[in-house]
């Protein structure tokens, strides 16, 4: 991030930050001005983990609707996951995602599948994927389980300087499971995913990252032991980064209530102790980014028996409000740290040069928000095509005022 926490003027032109200086110090005028007094002017937020559902599942979301929701949530860049239909495992699909006719209103950076059809068996052509615009490789939704495949993925990705994003879940331990293992799962008669299913894979991946020098990014970390493995890796100077979702620092497994499928996601909501560990890791730097894992699903898909309903919730429009409400107001994490988790942190993970900063010469991606604004999130007003959120009706503090992408407003609050 810029490291600046003071009243400043920012001049944007030709898609770039031209000048950032103390008030009234910038000479000359501007065509458009935006009075951000009392607001926070931050580098444009970057979401490392969204599901835009195209190609193939446009009934859940489109790139146009998903990026509109992103802009309303203050995100000027999103990294979209490849678990679509078909899986984004070729240069052609990576390019397809970025075409203007998709109607994106924020920057879309594709994450390409690490293996063919994301089946975890055979690596894709990382070089070709990177040239087409992929910023990372991942079989998100599915883990790369086999040790030698993960090792090769890290090694090959290192040659292209791409991170491997891992959805860490030992699926051999989570078959038929629909929530976290614990008293709530037992009470509800639901099979529970043990925390070890995540931690075991993270431990292995950190070791393989150390062995190969490959960049590992651990998606949506949810357990205490996985955080410990990441912390150990970072101390040993392994190239490991990690992200956490707003729902994992806000909700716990008990929140599932009486089978509310809008509280069903993977990784599942964990224990209160895990939530505490996540908050501590957000504060101490173990975690590099807040990422939403925005996973839209149609109403009829979520209105199923809990065990049969798909995993995932939407999250783009509630991320900042939850971060400020839960982490800043609730836990006294400084606003500058929260901004870092939305900007410089994620920019580093996927090495988005000139983003996540307002330094002179960087892209004119700016997020302006009111950290004190109280508001109520209403799911039926979401810009996403889907409504599967556990936060409908939640009172939040901190609201996005505007999102500027490449010097143009992608979102302005009424």
């Amino acid at each position: 991030m810029s490291g600046i926490d003071a009243p400043m003027d920012v001049l944007l032109a030709d898609g770039q930050v031209v000048e950032i200086a103390s008030p009234k110090k910038i000479r000359g005028g501007a065509d458009t001005t935006f009075d951000a007094r009392g607001l926070v002017v931050a580098p444009g937020f970057i979401d490392l983990h969204v599901h835009l559902r195209e190609p193939g599942q446009s009934y859940k979301e489109t790139i146009a609707s998903g990026t509109a929701a992103a802009a309303a949530g203050g995100f000027t860049s999103v990294c979209c996951m490849p678990n679509t239909a078909p899986v984004v495992d070729s240069a052609e699909w990576v390019k397809w995602l970025q075409r203007p006719e998709r109607g994106a209103v924020v920057n879309v950076f594709p994450v390409a599948a690490a293996t063919v059809h994301s089946t975890g068996e055979q690596l894709n052509d990382f070089k070709g994927l990177k040239q087409a615009g992929a910023v990372a490789v991942s079989d998100d939704g599915k883990p790369i389980l086999q040790d030698h495949i993960m090792r090769d993925a890290l090694r090959m990705a290192a040659e292209q300087d791409l991170p491997v994003i891992q959805h860490a879940e030992d699926t051999r331990l989570t078959g038929l499971c629909s929530m976290n293992n614990g008293p709530t799962a037992f009470r509800l008669g639901l099979r529970g995913m043990p925390a070890a299913a995540e931690a075991d894979i993270v431990e292995r991946d950190v070791r393989l990252s150390g062995d190969t020098g490959g960049r590992l990014h651990v998606a949506h970390v949810s357990t205490t032991d996985a955080l410990k493995a990441i912390r150990r890796g970072k101390r040993a100077r392994t190239r490991v980064t990690s992200e956490v979702t707003p729902h994992h620092f806000t909700l716990i497994d008990e929140s599932v209530g009486e089978y509310d499928s809008n509280h069903k996601m993977n990784p599942p909501l964990r224990s209160a102790a895990d939530l505490e560990a996540i908050v501590a890791a957000l504060a101490d730097g173990t975690i590099d980014a807040i990422a939403t894992d925005h996973a839209p699903h149609a109403l009829h898909e979520k209105q199923m028996e809990f065990e049969r309903a798909p995993f995932g919730i939407t999250g783009l429009e509630t991320a900042l409000g939850l971060a400020i409400t839960q982490l800043h107001a609730g836990r006294k994490i400084p606003l500058t740290r929260i901004v870092e988790l939305f900007t410089a942190g994620p920019a580093r993970v996927v090495e988005l040069k000139g983003r996540g900063t307002l330094a002179r010469g960087s892209y004119a991606d700016v997020t302006i928000f009111d950290p004190k604004k109280h508001w109520t999130f209403e799911a039926n007003k979401s810009r996403s095509k889907s409504r599967n959120t556990p936060f409908d009706g939640w009172k939040l503090t901190g609201k996005v005022t505007a999102a500027i992408v490449g010097g143009r407003f992608a979102y302005r609050a009424d």
Partner: protein, 303 residues
């Protein structure tokens, strides 16, 4: 989610003691031999996604004894086979004029989903590993036939607690009345966190420890296929957990032996135990009818 319609019975966990006692009192007033027209003209749908002998037939007899009309809808031979969702099936049954739905389903929470989206009472006849409230009520009814009151009773539940909706409902019900409950079995079947299900529940691995001085022994069916691949084999299970006449002597002299059925003689219990004077296994089945009459009457606002 919306609230379930009045008269629904989704589980024991959230019932008040008064509601439970009310149902048990109503059941005492029901006589399966003497029809009463409390449900005259009411259409009760029995929506069964899983096989069932006891629960299905006793709900049907209970409804008919009270003058209701029953329709059985099973997953095979219906639109469910064609991929119709649970909710769409529910809307369809409502549209044909269902006044209440009794549902048995392999997924935990399925009755809750139906109840949250329909304006008619939904009765849970067993949902996955979650609850089986009518079974817990008929077991409570049976216990009170033999014991004066719940307070001070000691109950041991033995077997595959993890997969058992009967055990979960029984724990909730008995715990509300101050019963001391011991769950017994191998770690695969009785994880330590099973003790968290309700107040007054403990876990032990030793059958002898579990049944020492108890008033009630509840046995659960062991599904052979679930022993496959576990640390504990069939022979081992029998050696450690089978209820035999010798072991039964450890319990109080007037202890009763219960089992929700179907029983497998020679596995979780010997034939002698199944047929001994302390066994109330057949009586439980008989209790099912008046208890389910009471549940249905309550659903229709008649109890």
């Amino acid at each position: 989610m919306k609230k379930a319609a009045r008269g629904s019975l989704l589980g024991i966990e959230h019932l008040q003691r008064d509601e439970i006692l009310g149902l048990l009192r109503a059941a005492r007033r029901m006589n399966p031999q003497r029809p009463r027209p409390l449900l005259r003209g009411k259409r009760i749908i029995l929506l069964f996604y899983e096989p069932s002998t006891r629960t299905r037939s006793s709900f049907e007899i209970a409804a008919k004894t009270l003058g209701g009309i029953t329709v059985l809808v099973q997953s095979s031979g219906s639109s469910i086979e064609k991929g119709e969702s649970l909710l769409d099936t529910g809307y369809t049954l409502r549209a044909v004029g269902a006044d209440a739905i009794v549902i048995r389903h392999p997924n935990a929470g399925a009755p809750h989903l139906l109840a949250a989206n329909l304006d008619i009472p939904v009765i849970n006849a067993g949902d996955g590993m979650h609850e089986h409230p009518s079974q817990a009520l008929l077991d409570a009814y049976t216990i009170l036939t033999h014991k004066k009151r719940f307070a001070g009773l000691k109950v041991a539940i033995i077997g595959d607690i993890y997969h058992s909706r009967v055990a979960r409902s029984a724990c909730h019900l008995l715990s509300k009345f101050g019963v001391a409950i011991t769950l017994c079995g191998s770690p695969e079947f009785v994880p330590e966190l099973a003790a968290s299900i309700a107040h007054g529940v403990r876990v032990t691995r030793s059958l002898e420890d579990a049944i020492q001085g108890v008033d009630v022994i509840m046995l659960l069916r062991v599904q052979k296929e679930r022993l496959a691949g576990k640390n504990i084999g069939l022979d081992d299970y029998i050696t450690r957990y089978q209820m035999t006449p010798e072991r039964l002597k450890l319990a109080k002299r007037d202890a009763i032996v219960m089992h929700p059925g179907p029983i497998i003689r020679g596995l979780e219990l010997t034939g002698e135990v199944a047929d001994c004077p302390q066994s109330v296994i057949v009586e439980e089945v008989a209790s099912g009818v008046p208890v389910r009459m009471a549940i249905l009457a309550r659903a229709m606002g008649k109890a």
